[in-house]
């Protein structure tokens, strides 16, 4: 760091990783110092440039812009918060610095060669200092890489490039070789066109300097062959000829030459044109590499779709310091997380299926309790549209049937509503509103509500028919469920509530009887919008009309307060508690005693009742059962996220 001579020491050019915040800071210091010089001298030159002299001001402003680019790149890769920088990131940074560095060099060269320039000796001196500082920005390739004897010089902004010099004249070859070596390039001479093509076929080159007038195969022919061969087509060719001949230049450019120089050449011009050609090639190569990396990200997206994506397979794309690298990193992380989540859900659903299968075997031949008061009979046609196929049982609000909807041509579940619940015309209007709202919920975890109808004084609801069992049946036959199965139920229930709550629909009656599981383990929540109707039956003063049980109702609902979405979350807590333990968190002999215990008592901690459930899950369920709704998980969305985070 003791750069008393104004030069940057070579230590930072090491390409290995940098460890320790002090080391990163030193590296940052070593790179920012030349930027400080570039900015300072350039601003002074700008101060001296007359406002109307745009020819002088524009390159100076370009230098400042490039310096800002350099700073921006440095502050990304060598951020002050970092205590370690990977070798790849450093290599990438040095590579990235070449572009603004080349812009600075080009602008300085343009100023130095400006005809009729009013720059005085001091200004030219300062331009030299800017150039010198720019050279500190990106390292030359380590000398070890250079061909023995080729002698990598200093004083160039370009990293050592492989340049093929094709000239039949030994003196010309020698001059070019020495000049290019002084610019820091590795030079390979060829004395004939044939020899040049042999060398091009055998080794990679960054640039060809080609004489036109040669015995045997002339420069035009060599150029034409280089441009015809896909392997060499992209190597820039600068044609050099003693012919001060415009037509030769035109012919070369038409054949694909990058540039043309006439002998005897100006060293400054040679330097500028070589630099520009190499820079163009570098940019082209970088663009290609970029597009290749874009292709890899797209390929990875395809692999995710096909389910074959392997974490980390974006490899070095993810190590890029630019936006594409960031995209690749984010993509990789997300794809990996999604994969893990899918895997986890898969496991949970498998556990759930196993529970369902066992429960089904247990109920085969069991009593699908026939409706005690069936109001409809198998074979009966309702409203000229629904053929009753079978009774599915009785609920608190009426009887449920499997029916064929002759209009839709599909099976539906048809639920009749008790007369006493629908006797009030105002109530039926409110109920219709609820059903209209509920019909807007479309989700794989929600049983779709079709229609509310009335036939001969009997109100009925039709809905999607799901063949499966309820969570009630599952708990009744299995007792407690495995934690994975509970997670599968909880996640799907939360999913359904997220959608319903976002539509402004509170279920109000989440309980195991309303949760259906199909054969695939997909949970379907029933009776959205129906609970409003039942509320009337829950008037505690009308003891005889209590529908269901207060076991799933939160304290605020029992107090008769206005409820919100968090009432459903409480009910989720009760359901999950029941799933995990096979018993309710609050139990009592009578409804009044039950209400009292819900309001006053704390449930037995889940951790005391289960040993295999993850503490994160038992803790979450206990939080759902908080008496104050502010103490519960705040939303279904939050519940879903918390459940998703439990492995």
């Amino acid at each position: 760091m003791t750069d008393a001579a104004g030069t940057t020491p070579n230590a930072w050019r090491a390409s290995g990783a940098v460890t320790g915040s002090q080391a990163v800071a030193e590296l940052r210091h070593n790179l920012r110092t030349p930027v400080n010089h570039i900015v300072g001298y350039t601003e002074m030159l700008l101060e001296d440039a007359p406002p109307e002299d745009t020819a002088r001001r524009a390159p100076l402003q370009e230098i400042l812009a490039a310096a800002q680019d350099v700073l921006a790149r440095i502050s990304v890769v060598l951020a002050p918060t970092l205590s370690q920088v990977a070798a790849e990131a450093l290599t990438g940074l040095y590579g990235d610095l070449r572009e603004p560095q080349a812009r600075i060099v080009r602008a300085v060269t343009a100023l130095q060669t400006q005809s009729g320039s009013a720059l005085d000796a001091a200004a030219l001196d300062d331009l030299g200092k800017i150039l010198h500082a720019a050279e500190q920005l990106a390292p030359h390739r380590p000398a070890a890489e250079a061909t023995p004897g080729a002698g990598v010089g200093t004083g160039s902004h370009d990293a050592a490039c492989r340049v093929l010099v094709v000239d039949d004249d030994a003196a010309n070859r020698d001059i070019l070789q020495r000049r290019l070596q002084r610019l820091g390039h590795r030079v390979f001479p060829a004395e004939s066109g044939v020899r040049a093509l042999e060398m091009l076929a055998a080794e990679p080159f960054d640039l060809v300097l080609l004489d036109v007038m040669m015995p045997g195969m002339d420069g035009f022919e060599v150029l034409s062959r280089i441009k015809q061969d896909a392997a060499t087509r992209d190597i820039p060719v600068i044609v050099i000829s003693a012919l001060d001949d415009l037509s030769a230049a035109v012919r070369c450019i038409e054949q694909g030459a990058e540039d043309f120089l006439s002998k005897p050449f100006e060293p400054v011009l040679l330097k500028a044109r070589v630099g520009a050609s190499l820079e163009k090639k570098r940019l082209r190569d970088r663009e290609r590499a970029y597009l290749r990396d874009v292709d890899r990200v797209l390929g990875a997206a395809g692999a995710v779709e096909a389910g074959t994506y392997q974490a980390g397979s974006l490899g070095d794309v993810a190590r890029r310091a630019d936006a594409l690298g960031k995209l690749a990193r984010v993509f990789d992380t997300m794809a990996t997380q999604v994969r893990a989540r899918e895997q986890q859900l898969h496991e949970q659903v498998r556990a759930l299926r196993a529970e369902i299968a066992t429960a089904r075997r247990a109920t085969v031949g069991g009593s699908t309790k026939a409706s005690e008061v069936p109001t409809l009979h198998t074979g009966e046609r309702l409203a000229g549209r629904y053929d009753i196929l079978a009774s599915l049982g009785n609920g608190g609000m009426g009887a449920v049937y499997r029916a064929k909807d002759l209009e839709l041509g599909e099976e539906v579940a048809l639920k009749t509503l008790r007369h006493d619940l629908v006797g009030d015309p105002q109530l039926i209007e409110r109920f219709k509103t609820e059903i209209r709202l509920a019909r807007r919920i479309s989700h794989r975890n929600v049983v779709r509500t079709h229609d509310l109808g009335e036939w001969r004084g009997t109100y009925f609801l039709t809905m999607e028919y799901v063949e499966g069992i309820t969570v009630r049946e599952l708990i009744d036959t299995r007792g407690r469920l495995a934690a994975d199965a509970v997670l599968a139920i909880g996640s799907q229930l939360a999913d359904a509530l997220v959608v319903a709550h976002s539509e402004g629909v509170i279920h109000r009656d989440i309980k195991p009887q309303n949760l259906l599981l199909d054969g695939q383990g997909v949970l379907k929540v029933m009776d959205f919008g129906v609970a409003r109707l039942a509320e009337r039956g829950n008037q505690l003063t009308e003891a005889g009309l209590v529908v269901g049980t207060p076991a799933y109702m939160p304290p605020e609902q029992l107090f008769g307060e206005e409820i919100d979405a968090r009432a459903d979350l409480w009910a989720c807590g009760v359901v999950l508690y029941e799933c995990l333990t096979g018993r309710l968190p609050f139990e009592a002999a009578t409804p009044m005693a039950l209400i009292a215990t819900v309001l006053q008592d704390e449930p037995t901690p889940l951790a005391d009742l289960t040993s295999d459930a993850p503490p994160a899950l038992t803790g979450l369920v206990m939080q759902l059962l908080a008496k104050r709704r502010d103490d519960r998980v705040p939303s279904a969305q939050a519940l879903r996220e918390r459940l998703g985070a439990i492995a």
Partner: protein, 123 residues
């Protein structure tokens, strides 16, 4: 005319910054390392010191501490300059006795603002 002592080991930094400050009407004297900076500061006569932090021999923090320790009269304002831009650099500089802190590359207007603020009435 305010006199500034620029303590800076990097030749190009010295050249550039001293010329820029001279253009703004300051008299700039220079020291190339910590010990020279401490010695010149002790001799007195400066309205402000610009102190590079990464100096050979003794660094800018140490040089500042020594200047402060030797001071008997009104403390001379010291502005720390560093290209490190590390988290905590500023606090470290202020703890050592600097009055302000700025980063390199130098934003001249910002630096001049800080210098003027410290020179206050004496400018």
């Amino acid at each position: 005319m305010p006199r500034i002592l620029l303590v800076e080991d990097n030749e190009m930094n010295r050249d550039m910054l001293s010329r820029r400050l001279a253009r703004r009407g300051f008299v700039v004297e220079m020291a190339v390392d910590g010990p020279e900076g401490v010695a010149k500061a002790a001799a007195g006569g400066y309205d402000l010191i610009l102190m590079d932090m990464s100096l050979p021999a003794i660094d800018g923090w140490e040089a500042t501490r020594r200047i402060r320790a030797a001071e008997t009269g009104t403390p001379v304002p010291i502005v720390a300059l560093t290209a490190h831009a590390m988290a905590g650099d500023r606090e470290k500089a202020l703890e050592a006795g600097c009055n302000d802190y700025d980063t390199k590359p130098v934003d001249l207007d910002r630096l001049l603002g800080k210098i003027q603020a410290l020179l206050g009435g004496s400018a």
